[in-house]
Each structure stands twice: as C-alpha cells, then as structure tokens.
Amino acid sequence: MRTLVWSAIAAFALLGVGMAAAQQAQTPRKGGTIRMTGPYAASFGSLDPHVTPRAQDQIVNQAIHRPLYTWDTANNRLALELATDVKASDDGLVYTYKLRNDVFFHNGRKMTADDVIWSYTRIMDGTKGYPGARYIRVIKGATEVEKGQAKEISGLKKIDDFTLEITLTDRVEPGYYLFSGTTAILPKEEVEKGNFAAHPVGLGPFKFKEHIPGSRVVAERFDKFYKPGKPYADKLEVLIMAEAAARDVAFRNKEIDTSILGPAQYVAYRADPELSKGLLEVAEMFTRAIQFNPSFKPFADKRVRQAFNYAIDTDLIIKRLVKDKAYRATSWLPPSSAAFDKTMKPYAFDQAKAKKLLADAGYPDGFEFELTTSQNESWGLPIVEAIIPMLAKVGIKLKPKLVEVTVLTEIAMKGEHQAFIGSNLTGPDSLATLRCYYSKTPRTACNYTSFSNPQFDKLLDGAAQESDAAKRNDLLRQANNLLYEEAPVWFFNYNKAVLAYQPWIHGLQANPTEITHQYPEDVWVDTRSPAK
C-alpha cells in the first residue's frame, strides 16, 4: 500500500515537473542573462552608432539604440520601428511619418521629431566622416549640409512633436536607407556631453551598463521600452571572441549562449547529436566572387570569363573546403531577394568546355594571371589555393598575390588588379545592389569590373522608374540573369551563416541581413541557463 502511495506521489511529481518544463518552453520567462558573442573582431570600435559602420559594433548598438526602421525577420522585409504609420505621396518623394509617442531615452526623456531631425543632421556633419551619411544623403538638402552650405536639412520637416515629413531626392524606398544602425536616433543632450562613446544613451531595449575594452559589454533591461513586456532578460552581455576555436570551447563549456560557427566547427556540430539540435542557419546577403578586371586583356573576352566558371569545380570547394557552409551562387543577388530566379541553373563543372571556350577566345594554351587575395578563410587564401590546381588543368596559371584587406580595397578601387577575390554585400536593396554593374557607376563606388552593358542599363533604368513591385522585380530578375550570363565575375557562393545556440535560449531570429544582429527584446533564456 505504501509503495503505491509513494509511486503515485512520484508520478504526480514527475507530471508536474514535465508540465513545468513544457511551460518553460512556451512562455517567455522574464529574467536571466543573455550571453551573446562578438565574433568579427578582437575589440569594439565605438559604442556611438553614428561613428562606426562595423558589423561587430552593431551587435551591441542594436540593443542600446534604434533607427527609424528595422528588419522584420519573420516576414523578410522592412518594418517601421519608431513610427506607427507612414504615408507616401503620389510622386513617391514625400513620406509622412507618425512617430510613436511612447519612446523614451534611457535618461527618461521622451523622443520627439526633433530628435530624428537632430540625429540625421549630426550624421551629415561635413567635418566628420560619419558612415551613415551615405544613407541620409538620400534626403533632400542633406548634401548641402554636408558641404557646409546649409545648417539644416531642408527635406526634414517637423509637423508636430510626433509627425515628421521627409522629402527624398530620388524615388526609393526610404526604409532601405534608414534601417542601418548608423542612422540611429540619439539624444542630443547626451551626445553633447562629450563622453558618449564611453557612456552611450539610447532608446533601445537595453541600457548601457559597462564596457570592458577587449573583453565585453554589459547592458541592463530598460523598463520603459516601448514594446510592453519586453525585453524579457534582465541583462545582456556581448562577449568578444574573435577566434572560432575559442568560441567552440566556450560554447561547449556553456560559458556563452550563442556562437557563430566556422566551417570546421559546422561539421563537428552537425555530427554531434546534441549540438545539432541548436543550429540556426540562414542564407546571408553576401555574394563571394572573383572580380575580373577587363583592362587585363584575356578578361575582356566573355568566353574567357565563362571558361573560368566552367573550369572550377565550385560545388566541390563548397562541399569540401567550406564544409557546406555556403550556397552555390547562381547569380549576383542572393536567394532572399525578390528578384532571385530560382530556376537559374549554375555553370556546370566542365573542363573540356572551358578549354574549348579558351581556344575560341584565342588562348588554346591558356594564360597566366595574378589574383589579389586576402588571408580570409572564407573568401581568401584557402579558396585561391584550392582553385590553383583546377585552373592549371585548363592551362590557366594562377599566381596569388596575398595582401592585407586594406591594401586589397585600395587596389580594387584604383583598378590595379587583374582579378581579386572578395565578399560583397548584395542586399537587402536589390536595385542598389545591381546598380554596381550600371555602366555609369564608377569603379570607386563598387563597379570593380568596369561592367558596361547597354541592355543591362536599360533594364535597370526601367526598374528604377517602375512603381509596381512585381514588374520591378521582374525587370531586376532579367537584369540579374543577364549578369550571370555575361559572367563579369566567377560566381562562388552566398554565405550561410550558422549560429549555434544553447537549449535554454529562445526567440533568436534568422536575420539574413546579418545573423548576429539579433533583436534582443525578443530573446529569452529559461532557468536551465547557468548564468544568473
């Protein structure tokens, strides 16, 4: 009898625990600490979001500050963040925003239209090189401020405290320009105190607590955040860990909650039955490619460039070297773009065809060229080393020229390269991305291949004028496909970002613009987390 009673009690207890556990998995728990990692550099640049364009800094800045728009990861499109409504004029140049009236800065003051105007004006300060200027420039009157000809941006008009009218210089979607962290809205009085980078004050879900240089940033929940009930966690820590191997160790030791995986760790985690359950994968908006300079005679011929694409076993490199941590590129635009053509077939691995194309172009014995590359493991030296033997088989002799990234950038902008390999941002604004291949775009802007094709230009002009989204995407798709056929580059891959996460962290978003740029107000940790 007694055993029966005890068993019953035990059974109920187990049931209770089971239900509690199930509950944990469903309702976000308020409290705890989120421990994210900053994997791209060994330190933070600046906690003033206007000052730094670096991806690593944005991880922190996204928690403490916010711009006007954000990226809706669930629906893969732009979303208004600091406004509730926007109305566009018929000519598509004037946008009227109804700002939220419940946004507070961390110092207690409410945000108004004045703050938006002040922030954007600060960014256009001509004596400073604020990276956000390239985005704010799309607002009418911004260039005049930059050049010192005006004190205020004429295209920014305050209707009242919570209504703002923005006039643009071109028919573009302003969200693509105003969702960058470099256009965040900052409180004027705090910035003017002078110590802003050391003690940032923003309007995001977490407020700044401390920064240990070279180590980590700690932020605490801001209770007056405008999304009720959020953020869930009490504390957010961003720990600097630039080494993939180091992150691997820390993750397995449960010292961090998320970790960006490199190719080697991707293989190991996928093979591990436990670890493989916590992998978030997303195709990012970066296209890796070798860009050819047509001023080097062989590359002026389309057949040579296509031969390149046929001669390299790209799938093998992705599978073996990059360990499947990438998607084969079948165009310049990434799969997340609305103009991406899913039916496009990639260049086949066909060395016989490559040799024939080379012979047709007048290089039956191949040729020699210099490829400028950096040390980067995903789009640099190791890739180059892998393609050397492949190209050798069709007679192309590749001489690698290893330089630092800074030198590579300068070489590319000056056009001193014969070819270089790199990673290029190809989203989320597809039109702006394809503009790089517009004949009038200078090499210094991003037209490193000096591409000039009248048919392509026409498609792009048409897309810029087109107001119907579906028709515009169709034109962009044609342009994108044309680009693939013209092969101004060797199309390598789109990056697959893989974020490993612990079983106790929930709410992580598959953000294709940058997976480490999480919106931490939606993230929560359950009680299994070892961090308090």
């Binding site: 060994a42 330190s43 933070f44 090189g129 030198v407």
Partner: protein, 311 residues
C-alpha cells in the same frame, strides 16, 4: 642615488625621441589606410564620399613634414592623439590595456624566476650530473620552442582535452585565465635564466675568492650562500632585467593567441586596421618600458656589487 636615477632616466629621452621619429617614418610608408581597412570583416560597406571625409578628418592627406611636426609637438605634451578606430584618446585606449599587459608580463617573469633560477642553481651545484643534464636539456628545449606553438599545445592539452583551465580571454582577470598565457610567455625567459644562473654560479664557484674562503675553513654552506649568491646575482639580475624589458614586446604573439586584452594585441590589431596613432602609442609605451627597466637594471647592477662602476 635619486639624483643619479633621475639623470639616468633623462638619458632615455634622446633614444626615445629617435625611436619616435623612426617609428613615425616607418608607419607613414605603410600601404593601405584606416578607411580602406574598415572592410576587414567583409561585412562592412563604406562609400567613397564618406571615405574622403574620414581621410580629411584624420589628416591622412596632409604632407609628411606637417604630420610629423604635429605629432612631435603633441607627444611632447603628453597627447598621443586620437585613435582612428574608436575616436577616443590613445592614452585612454592604452590605459585600459596597460594593467592586463603588466599582469601578464609580471606573472610570466615570476614564473621564469621561480622556476628558472633555482633550476640553474641546482644544476650548477652538481655539474655533469643527471640533474644537470636534464635541466639543461630542458632549458635549451625551452629556448627552441615557438611560443605560439607552445601556447597552442598548452591550450589543447589543458583547456580542451583536460578542461582544467579556460582556453582564452581575460575573464575576471584571475589566475585561471592568466596561467596558460603566462606559462607560454615565460618558458623562454625561464630557460634562459636557468642557463644563465647555472653559468654564473659555476663561474663564481670556481673563482679565486671562493677557494680562499673554503681554504679559510668556512663551511661549504656558508660559502655558497654568502659569496656565490651575491656575485652570481649580478649576472642573473642583468638577465632578468633584459628579459623583462623585452617581454612586453615579445608578448604580442601570446596575447593574440589567447585573446589577452593587452598592449601587444592592441598593437597588432591596430597595425592591421592602420590605426596609426594607436600603433605609435603602443610602440612608444613598449619602448619606454624597455628603456626604463634597462636603466633600473643598470642601477641595481651597481647597487649589488659596488666594485662595478660604469665606464
């Protein structure tokens, strides 16, 4: 004594000035610039107009003599300039990293002294014995190791396989995090100290005055303690000083490997990001550290053995 110290320290200034000039010229010919280095992570885009502004803001396009003059003037007043990367004063940036660097260097040196000196001492007392041979083989092996490889192997064994210690980073700054980097950094100096101590002790043991003391009937132990120690100390102290002085510069590799937030890793990162003011500030600090320690060693040298006078 204090006057002499101050005078000696003042002697450093010309060397320091020359170093500043050489470093400035050296880094002004570096290809690439901060603006083009911003895309290092492959995820940052920056447009040419902004790059132009940044170049102007940072004075990158001013002619060389202007930049040099400005730099010298500012440095003389203690202003090391503003970091390109964080737009904060370089002194602040370095100040943040100074304590971790010092901690690492001091701990490594302590390890080297605590292990190396007794080792060399014991080896010298029994020359040709098994102990001697093993110690010296160990020492010469320690000098032949690549610091980076040693660090990597230590990390693999103690952090990854055995999981006794964390594998990287500063953590809370405690001994657990300090252990592996300090050992990796300290093995080289330890080996050198062991050899030097052994040689110094041997040299002295065979010197005349020791024979004299022995013949006078002093007990072996007292002979060893009193005379040997004191005279061997000179050479050992010199070696300690020289090693210590150059340790901050040598710590670059270890700091990078273990992600230790010290001056060395700041220097390397800044070189790659072309954050020139920070680079110059770091080198200035490392060189000053070296010169000051050297001066102190010279003074200690004289203090220990008053018979030695500088020529």
């Amino acid at each position: 004594m204090l006057v002499v110290l101050v005078r000696r320290l003042a002697n450093i200034v010309p060397t320091l000035a020359a170093v500043i000039a050489v470093i400035f010229l050296l880094f002004s010919v570096l290809p690439g610039s901060f603006v083009s280095a911003m895309n290092e992570d492959g995820r940052t885009t920056i447009d040419p107009a902004v790059m132009e502004r940044m170049r102007k803001e940072m004075g990158l396009d001013d002619p060389l003599p202007t930049r040099f003059a400005k730099y010298v003037a500012h440095t003389a007043m203690g202003d090391l300039g503003t970091s390109f990367r964080t737009r904060e004063p370089v002194t602040k940036l370095i100040g943040n990293r100074l304590w971790p660097s010092l901690k690492l260097v001091f701990t490594a040196m302590a390890f080297a002294i605590v292990v190396g000196v007794p080792l060399g001492f014991i080896a010298a007392l029994k020359p040709g014995s098994v102990v001697d041979t093993i110690s010296m083989v160990g020492a010469i092996s320690g000098l032949s190791l690549s610091q980076f490889w040693l660090g990597l192997m230590l990390m693999y064994l103690f952090a990854l396989k055995l999981q006794w210690l964390p594998s990287f980073g500063y953590g809370d700054g405690g001994l657990r995090y300090l252990a592996l980097p300090a050992i990796a950094l300290g093995v080289g100096p330890m080996a050198l100290l062991a050899r030097t101590t052994r040689a110094a002790v041997l040299e002295v043991l065979n010197a005349d005055f020791v024979r004299t003391a022995r013949s006078k009937g002093m007990s072996e132990r007292r002979v060893v303690e009193w005379h040997v120690l004191r005279n061997a100390l000179v050479l050992v102290v010199t070696t300690i000083g020289l090693q210590f002085g150059s340790l901050m510069g040598a710590a670059v590799v270890v700091e990078k490997l273990f992600s230790w937030p010290g001056i060395g890793s700041l220097l390397v990162d800044s070189v790659f990001q072309r954050d020139i003011p920070t680079v110059q500030g770091c080198i200035l600090l490392i060189v000053t550290f070296f010169l000051v320690i050297n001066t102190l060693v010279d003074m200690a040298y004289v203090a220990i053995d008053p018979r030695i006078r500088y020529r």
